[in-house]
Every structure is written in structure tokens, then in C-alpha cells.
């Protein structure tokens, strides 16, 4: 549990160092696209970390997690459109709206398990997706440009690409730390116990439902924050934010990087999006290469990339 210089910890340190140095490299080479790419990676990594809390540790495979990217994004976009640009209002609202939605979805879906849970979470996400398409005032199907990024009263300027990148990175590292504390706390033990053997958890006296529900809500809130960041990053919102394939992407990131380890999804997000970028530069049919790669990880490296480095012990 304590920090040791295992190959895995070294690898995690290297990944963090690379993420921290991206803007420096981009500045030196004049490759500004790279900062944009990695801002996207870092934001989606926050979403993947939040999904991993419920999926990797809690065993709740939510197939509609991108809906919170949408809710968070639309909270920022809608408020901006109505002339409210303060991030101090936009961001808390993005998180609160995600919490409320997660509470409603979780309250219903957590009464089911397995395939039914997957289908219900997907159904709720699709519902919001179509509601967004119907919002003509906010761009409907085509989406809507956000003309002004969230304002923090001159405290921090999000239009500065470097500043924004480092803010996102700081929030990612904070998310990883918070989730790490969470899964090792008493609360986290209950969540993990429920994944391992829920029947037994009830037999030893745990009302598991309320703990699972709270973790579900917390994961939604964190992903809602990622949504607010993503809207600021692209200066644009559209229903595509929460298309079901993006929920799939988040699952792939968590599985690829290593479910059930806190940092795994970060590695997964970097690996997936960098590969996507590199491969799509080589061939139009990049998914033909990515698909089999993913298959190999699922078949031969059950703990994901992180698991390869650490052995299989969870933590």
C-alpha cells in the first residue's frame, strides 16, 4: 500500500510526467494541436476514472456513463446561451444536475443486475440524448457554439490553452487521489464487497443498496464535471457528447487501462486516444487495427495495461 518503486509505480510516474510536460514540448516544437489533443485526453480520463469507480470497484457496468458528459456540457452551454457565464454557477450546476440524474437512474437501475442493469443505464442515457436533439433553442441535432468560456472573475483564464490544460490535469490528479482514498475507505470496502459477493454482504449486515447508490451518484458527479470541462474545451455542445458509442469508449478506456486499479483508466484513456490519433493518420480503416488490439488485452491481459505491470492484485 505504501509507495514503492515497483515497475508499475515507476510507469505511473512516467505517465504523469509526460502529461505534465506535454505543453512544454508543444511550445518548443510549435505543435499546438498536441495541447488540444491532450486536453481532450485528460478530460476523458476524468470520465473514465469516474466510470471505473462504479464499474471496476463496484461491479456496476453502466453503459450510459457518457450521459453525464452531456448533462455537464449542456449545463455550461445552456447557461452560457442565457448569458450566465460565471463558472462558479455553471460548474456546480453541472455537477448538481448530474448528481440528481444519477440519483434517479441509480435508484431504479440498481434494483436490477447484469444485462438488465446495462440496458437500463443505456436506455436512460439514450432518453437524454433524444431530449437534447429536441432542444431547438440550444442547437438541436446540430449542436451549438459556446461563445464565451466559463468565467472565474479573472482568477483563472480558461481561454489560455496552457492554463486550461493544467487546470484539467490538476483536476484529473485530484480525481484520482479522491477515488483512491474512497476505494480504500470503509465506504470503498463496502462497494468492493458488493462487487465480490453481494449476497454475503447482506448476510453480514450491510444494506448494500444505499452504498451502491451513493457511489453511482458520486461517479455521475465527477463525470458531470468532466462534461463541463469538455464543453469549455471544444467551445461547443451537441448530442454527440453523450452518444452511446462514447459510453462504450469510456468502458474501453477502463478495461484497456485496467479495471479495479485507480490509475488504470488514465493509462487506458491515453493509450486509446493516442492510438486512435496515430492509427487514423496511417489509415482510414484504423479501427481494424484497434479492434484486434483491444481483443488481445481482453483475452490475455485481464488486468489491462496496468495489470500487466502490477500483477493481478487489486488496489
Amino acid at each position: 500500500m505504501t509507495a514503492r518503486l515497483s515497475p508499475r509505480n515507476a510507469f505511473v510516474a512516467v505517465v504523469i510526467a509526460i502529461l505534465a510536460l506535454v505543453p512544454v514540448y508543444a511550445e518548443a516544437t510549435g505543435n499546438t494541436f498536441m495541447v488540444s489533443l491532450f486536453t481532450r485526453i485528460v478530460i476523458l480520463a476524468i470520465a473514465a476514472v469516474s466510470l471505473n469507480l462504479i464499474m471496476g470497484f463496484g461491479g456496476m457496468v453502466s453503459f450510459g456513463h457518457a450521459v453525464y458528459l452531456g448533462i455537464g456540457g449542456y449545463a455550461v452551454g445552456i447557461l452560457a446561451k442565457e448569458g450566465i457565464n460565471s463558472g462558479l454557477l455553471q460548474w456546480p450546476l453541472a455537477v448538481a444536475a448530474s448528481a440528481l440524474f444519477a440519483l434517479a437512474v441509480g435508484a431504479l437501475s440498481l434494483r436490477t443486475r447484469g444485462v438488465y442493469f446495462i440496458m437500463i443505464t443505456l436506455a436512460f442515457a439514450q432518453m437524454v440524448y433524444y431530449v437534447a436533439i429536441g432542444l431547438d433553442r440550444y442547437g438541436g441535432d446540430d449542436g451549438m457554439t459556446i461563445y464565451k468560456r466559463s468565467q472565474f472573475g479573472g482568477l483563472i483564464d480558461l481561454s489560455n490553452k496552457m492554463t486550461f490544460y493544467y487546470l484539467c490535469l490538476a483536476l484529473l490528479l485530484a480525481s484520482v487521489y479522491v477515488v483512491w482514498r474512497l476505494v480504500h475507505s470503509r465506504f470503498g470496502m463496502v462497494i468492493q464487497g458488493a462487487r465480490s459477493n453481494e449476497r454475503r454482504m447482506r448476510a453480514i449486515g450491510f444494506p448494500t443498496y444505499r452504498y451502491k447508490l451513493l457511489s453511482f451518484v458520486f461517479a455521475g458527479m465527477l463525470c458531470g464535471l468532466a462534461g463541463a470541462l469538455l464543453a469549455n474545451h471544444t467551445d461547443f455542445i451537441s448530442p454527440a457528447l453523450m452518444h452511446w458509442t462514447r459510453s462504450g469508449d469510456l468502458i474501453v478506456m477502463a478495461v484497456l487501462g485496467g479495471m479495479g486499479t485507480v490509475f488504470g483508466p488514465v493509462i487506458g484513456a491515453v493509450a486509446l486516444l493516442v492510438l486512435e490519433e496515430v492509427l487514423s493518420g496511417i489509415t482510414e480503416y484504423w479501427q481494424i487495427i484497434l479492434g484486434p488490439l483491444f481483443l488481445l488485452v481482453v483475452l490475455f491481459a485481464r488486468g489491462g495495461i496496468d495489470g500487466l505491470l502490477a500483477g493481478v492484485r487489486r488496489g
Binding site: 480504500h184 465506504f187 470496502m189 459477493n197 448476510a203 453480514i204 452504498y211
Partner: protein, 253 residues
């Protein structure tokens, strides 16, 4: 019997055409080790399931510690002090032995909406867990991953987990199932020590163990109680011999 810790009246459960519990009435006073025996399919596990709260009875009442618990959910019964072990080992396989037990301690140490302190460092959870492992005779395997323990060790761990919920009564579903003679003997020794402090309802096929441990024995056949009494009375009961013991002796002979 007003002083009974566990009192069951008219408990009935049908699965389709099969009567699993047929108006079962039973009372277990505090401190008693009460064994339930019966041939396969007699409804023993169904009975435990109803007592623990996993199966809802069709009719009848269950009183525990002067409370009607018939409608209470599983976790509430556990909190009242009714602990069960499972016939088929049902542990957290990807946790270590002590983590399994510590989780049971945690279940009874107030709510678990505590989000920050690492639970593995909490002496408040670890110490009682270690004590429960010790009582179940498994202290030396505390840090082993459950998936790596032997079958007999799993059964002992089941007991430790049940003990860690600081129960008033244990519901043990075939704790000796699949054990070799040596492991069985160790389990009998453990149960003999536990019975001094706890009320126990024991379901077991190992007749030697049952007659060595039980204060009273109830014989269940097709969901119905055909006899209930001291081991001597049960041994002498003609109907029991015919329905159950005779059949077993015939098989052994």
C-alpha cells in the same frame, strides 16, 4: 416458552407442488445447540434461508430475541445478532482472510459512510477481526488470499465471518460439508468452544458430529418435523430410525 431466543410458529413454504416447510414449530432457548437433521431435500436449507431472511415464508412467524423478525430484511436480522454461514462457501474470494472478517466487523461498527480513512489501517476493525480468526482457528492464515485457502479453511473462515458480526445466535448450514475426518474433528472442537457462549442452530449431515455436539435434535422429513428431543430420545425414536437413521445405517452397512 417465553424465554426462547428463537421461536418459530407455523412456518410454511411451498415451491410449486413441493412443500419445503410444513407448519414448522420450533423454539430454541438461549445457550442451546440445536441440530436439525433430515435426508436430502427435507427442507433444511430452506428453513435456514427463511430464518436468515433470504426466503420469505408463505405463512408463519419467526421471533428472535422477543421481536417478530418475519418481515425484516436480511441485513436488519444480522444487525439484531442472527448470523448465518453458508452451505456452499460464500466468501469474498479476491479479498484476504482478514479482509473478509474485517468487513463483517465493519458491518456492525456503525454506518460505513466514511470516505477518507484507509479501512485497512483501522485497528478498530482489524483487532476484532484477528480475534474472530483466532477463535475459528485460522489466525495463521490471516493474510492469505481467500482463493488460495483450502476447503476446510474456507469453512473455518465462514465461522470467523459469522463470529465477527458479534452474533447472539449462529445459523450454521453444514459447516462440515466436504471435510476430511481431521478437518471435521477440528471443526467439532471449534463448535464445542463456541457453544459455551452462543446459541447455535446447526444443520449437519455428519451424524457423529451432531450427536457429539447437540443438546437437542429436530428431525425434518419432507418439510415436516417428525421428532424433536435429546440425542438419546432421537436415537431411540422408531420413526426416525426408519425415516432417516436406519436408511443411513443401511447405506453404511
Amino acid at each position: 416458552m417465553a424465554d426462547a431466543l428463537l421461536q418459530i410458529e407455523g412456518l410454511s413454504k411451498r415451491f410449486g407442488g413441493v412443500v419445503a416447510s410444513d407448519a414448522i414449530a420450533l423454539s430454541v432457548p438461549p445457550g442451546e445447540l440445536h441440530a436439525i437433521i433430515g435426508p436430502n431435500g427435507a427442507g433444511k436449507t430452506t428453513l435456514i434461508g427463511q430464518l436468515a431472511g433470504e426466503i420469505a415464508p408463505d405463512a408463519g412467524r419467526i421471533r428472535f430475541a422477543d421481536r417478530d423478525v418475519t418481515g425484516l430484511p436480511i441485513f436488519r436480522r444480522s444487525q439484531l445478532g442472527l448470523a448465518r454461514s453458508f452451505q456452499i462457501t460464500s466468501l469474498f474470494l479476491d479479498f484476504t482472510a482478514i479482509e473478509n472478517v474485517a468487513l463483517a466487523v465493519q458491518a456492525h461498527a456503525g454506518h460505513s459512510f466514511r470516505f477518507w480513512r484507509p479501512a485497512r489501517d483501522e485497528a478498530e476493525l482489524r483487532e476484532p477481526a484477528r480475534a474472530a480468526l483466532m477463535r475459528a482457528g485460522l489466525a495463521h492464515r490471516a493474510d492469505a488470499l481467500v482463493a488460495n485457502l483450502s476447503h476446510g479453511e474456507h469453512r473455518q473462515l465462514e465461522i470467523a465471518v459469522a463470529l465477527a458480526t458479534s452474533p447472539r445466535m449462529l445459523l450454521l448450514d453444514e459447516p462440515m460439508a466436504g471435510m476430511g475426518p481431521e478437518e471435521s474433528a477440528r471443526m467439532v472442537k471449534t463448535l464445542r468452544e463456541l457453544k459455551r457462549e452462543l446459541t447455535i442452530l446447526l444443520i449437519e449431515h455428519d451424524m457423529e458430529a451432531v450427536f457429539a455436539l447437540a443438546d437437542r435434535i429436530t428431525v425434518l422429513v419432507y418439510g415436516r418435523i417428525i421428532a424433536s428431543g435429546t440425542p438419546e430420545a432421537i436415537r431411540a425414536n422408531a420413526e426416525v430410525r426408519q425415516a432417516y437413521l436406519g436408511e443411513q445405517e443401511a447405506r453404511h452397512g
